[in-house]
Symmetry: D4
Subunit: 196 residues, 8 copies
């Protein structure tokens, strides 16, 4: 459930219904501080990762590993949302941070972890070049997440979005700006269709 | 290989090298009429699908089925490119045409073929709404391909692109405008990493 | 009357003049909290729906029914503005909420209420796909209202706006982003020209 | 049927099926010269208006009159497409040409014809101001069609489109750029739902 | 002097220098509340109109009259800035408010005042249609000022800007969005070059 | 009269009517080669300047001089259209070519001709900087005409347009991209209102 | 290090590591007030210039001089960031302020300082014309920095950015909007590669 | 000299004047086939590289080496223009082709040639990621040239342009789309100011 635009009452009610009518994980993304407070009181037991709240998280399963890669520190919150969703569904995740292409040696130092992942999620703002490099290094599925990190010519993520769509690495797919949740669900669709 | 911006000589040379130095399929996309003529003469044995040429195509394998869905007749050429690439690598494809959302009954008539596919590629122009509907009907991976079909407010595919990125169906991923080749490779990454 | 950009004094004066010089409903849209407080004190008797204030509301009449449809909970405030205007003029409204296209079964469950409305107003953000689906299901006039719900690639409603204009369902018409008031007046023009 | 992107064979086949499987008008919009030649030969009896072909046109009925208004001579082809569709369904149309707002006296000279129409379609390029003026003069439904007439800052119709959406006249609705067909169908939805 | 981006100290110093080194009017536009307080204390004797401060204003002269026309109440602050500048230079101004094109009768009621002005400044947001109508009614110079009034498809004034540039009335000229100061200086250039 | 979008017949008819019903100059802008041939045959006596045709041109009058300035050779055709219109109405024009700001010495060599003109029209593409420099050098009215000269980041004239609107020289006014005709009429409005 | 999007803890940690593991200058750009307070306490000895903090600044060296030129007072903060970086690396800088092209005499008065610099950095908002003029006056490398100074048609720096890219002065290069840091590093690359 | 928009006569005349009035190289960029034929006849002795013509080319000098790097074959014509200009001024150039980031091993194989160049020009279309990687590998000046290579989401070079401006590698500078000439002149400004 996507929290913005919903009142705290609407959030609380919907989570209540979801908890009653199912057995899988229940997630709320992009909660405000106020929504989190109300939700935590009304429905105890949630794990909170940044602005994401998760109830009834699954145990980590074996199965395909998702490599979750960020270009820089500021991309962290989007990757955190992504990680929170994947963990709630029990997916094994290998996280690789701060390997933006301007420091190629840091990226190359992680090449084994990158190429051994079964699915790759690349989170990057500014010019989004990391998706192209990762797409060239690994034959696995690559889901690119543009972030609104940066200023000026980054155009709040539009530049990274366009760059990822125009990637010279064939077969890279893209989700919306800052959409860590969407990238996680895309990975779930590949590994456990029907769970999400 | 992407043909535009290359001379016929460059195309012919590169294909020659690819045919000598490997064993898998060799593909050239977006060829002009003139490039096709020269390539066909220099390197016989190609299969031509629209503007795509393919040499050394693989046998159809068993394995995951790709559902290839178009919204309208005019989206055909982009889907053809996609189909040509998938077939060259031996992927089984189920093609479902002309199920744009304005005729929901036609879409619902195909619901079994849609939900039984392992991976879905949705090719749509204009407002690109089909990707959202398919993403809601199936838990499988959905790769959306916006096309430049339409005029005026379609903005040469930008509208469909943005709509697919902003899809209310979580986990839909997107490739560039008219990029049937990219969608096919994304599906190959999911089903046979390393082959492409 | 559109409140933003007007001082509370200007609002109060204009409403006073409208109440003196006519007999029909008097409406102020997009009021701020401060404007509402001053208006309520200066001109008692208003009904307040969200940021809309209405004086001298008409009785509900018989006549054509407007089906007012939203894609998601967050589209509610725009639909509320629309509803407030229609009710102020006595139009019968059938409201159908949360039938976004990613959950097609919820939409199909409401198909009788949708197809029995005489005029349809579709309020949707993100990719705005609901307008196309409704336009295909019903032969009645469809007024689409893009909302700024969503983030990133939704571009504050521009994506939904473009998608609705490029709709594959012929004859769908569109009003400006978040313009619930405009959609209501468009429906009034169809049902009771001269009243608004 | 929208012709661009379809081969002449596809056009011919689809029209054949439509003529066999129904009794109402059959329309093809935006045909090329070549498509028209093939269609005329394969399916005689069509009326051709600009790039629109129509078979089995209805008799003119009584009923609500559509006022079809253009700002300038160059908006003519879009209005012609609109007119052709309305006539094919037997709608009475009152056409009022060349009343762009820079010549207000010409517009005022037609005020009786404008205000007596039951539905108004306004076709205008450049800055699209005519829609706002008509929307202020008449309480009837106004469907605005932006055209790509003009150059430079007209941005191929985007300027007129935005201007019509941002109209200061409440309740004006808009269709896509150059979409005369869409405007006609919108009017049909208001006057004879189910016919189109 | 344009105040934003300058510290209060910088503002105070520059105004001091301008007052010492010349004899004509001294103007500061777009001052913040804080800047106004400091400037008023440091340099007494200013006239304040909205966010504009003016010292050493000229007497009203005879000479060409500027017709200053607004479409709606919310365009007032931009027109006020324009008026403040013109008055500081002693230009006679005829102000005509609230004559937006959706209420053509109000505009026509002011036609004598409009056509008797020697220069016309038209201040309008939303779709900016007023500039085209005024440009058709009067042969005098027309300076159009788009405002950021409106929401959604008004795109913060870009729609009005484009519409004014694409005006069907020949010879209308345009200044930047909300640039009342620029429009006033353009009028000064026409009536008293060298004064500004 | 603006020729594009009109048939040769429409052009010929309208010019015929204009020649019969008035005594002033008759102008057709942006004619195609074919339109010119038909017009020249149907209505002899025209002067042709680039794509502009003019009948019944006025004698050159005394009165305010228009300084018509271009940044580079490629801006010539837009300036030619402007010149043709001004000459048709008998305005004295001083033309100053190729004084783009990258060669400031060439500009400074013409400073007397620039500052002695009563009205200035600045025609420039690329970054359009010339308008700002001229606006700083002369207190006279400045009408800036952005041209689509240049490529890539010039965005077909949008860059020059925006730059001219955002000019740091106060009181510069702007017309649409490549709109030499509009600039000329703006100058006519300043010098001989009612003539155009 | 670029501070936005990093927590104060992350900032403090990274600066600590940089101070331990090297000998050159350590810089943090775009710090918030809160980040500055924490950093100053955790790592004493920093020089603060606007939002830039610098530790271990180098002595001023001889070597090529950077001319740092601003168009207006409001461009100051971007130039300050640029200056702070250059000084931290010991580069000699000649700063020339307030020489925007609308006041060409002020610019010409500084022509000797401009032409004697070995590298030029031009910081300008609004229409960014200064870069073209400087590029024409000096044969030295010109790095243009568009700023978000201005409003309306300045489009938050996009107009200046496009204008600088489309400059008629050949060989001008551009960095991102408000990117004073980037311009400084570009100059360091030219004068002391490897230092930065 | 930039040829588009100039007649063959204007080209021929200007080249003649340049050859008479100087001693350095004379260059014409972006010539059409027709312009080339006339120029070659009127002024023999030119070297033609793609659409660039050069007279009086200098001998290759020693001095700083320019590394000219392309991402793909289709970027060749822009790099050729750049190379032609550098060679005409006698600059030593090291060209490195086809090292786009999707094939990182090819790029890494050239790392010695890349890091030994004194100035780097990076020519890349699509997502333009190569500039960021090169900027991270070398401390030398990097001039990035976005090209219009690619389709759809490449937006005719705008995507590469934005990506290069938003590069995560500090100090990368950018010229306009396809502006190989501008990049070459920027390199000349760094190595031999005054020659160009």
């Amino acid at each position: 459930m996507y929290a913005p635009g919903k009142t705290t009452e609407q959030c609380t009610t919907i989570v209540g219904e979801l908890l009653e009518n199912g057995t899988g994980p229940v997630l709320v993304t992009r909660t405000s501080k106020d929504q989190r407070a109300h939700l935590a009181e009304a429905h105890p037991g949630a794990t909170t990762i940044g602005s994401l709240m998760a109830w009834r998280r699954a145990e980590e399963t074996s199965g395909p590993t998702v490599g979750l890669i960020t270009a820089g520190t500021a991309d962290g919150p989007v990757a955190d949302e992504c990680l929170g969703v994947l963990e709630a569904y029990g997916r094994p995740v290998e996280r690789i941070d701060d390997v933006g292409v301007a420091g190629l040696h840091r990226l190359l130092a992680e090449i084994d972890r990158i190429t051994s992942a079964d699915i790759l999620i690349v989170v990057a703002g500014m010019e989004g070049a990391l998706a192209s490099v990762i797409g060239g290094l690994s034959p696995a599925p690559v889901i690119a997440v543009p972030t609104s990190v940066g200023y000026g010519a980054g155009l709040d993520g539009v530049t990274a979005l366009l760059a990822m769509l125009a990637s010279c690495a064939a077969g890279v797919t893209v989700v919306g700006i800052d959409n860590g949740y969407g990238a996680a669900v895309a990975a779930l669709r590949m590994t456990a269709p029907g769970a999400q």
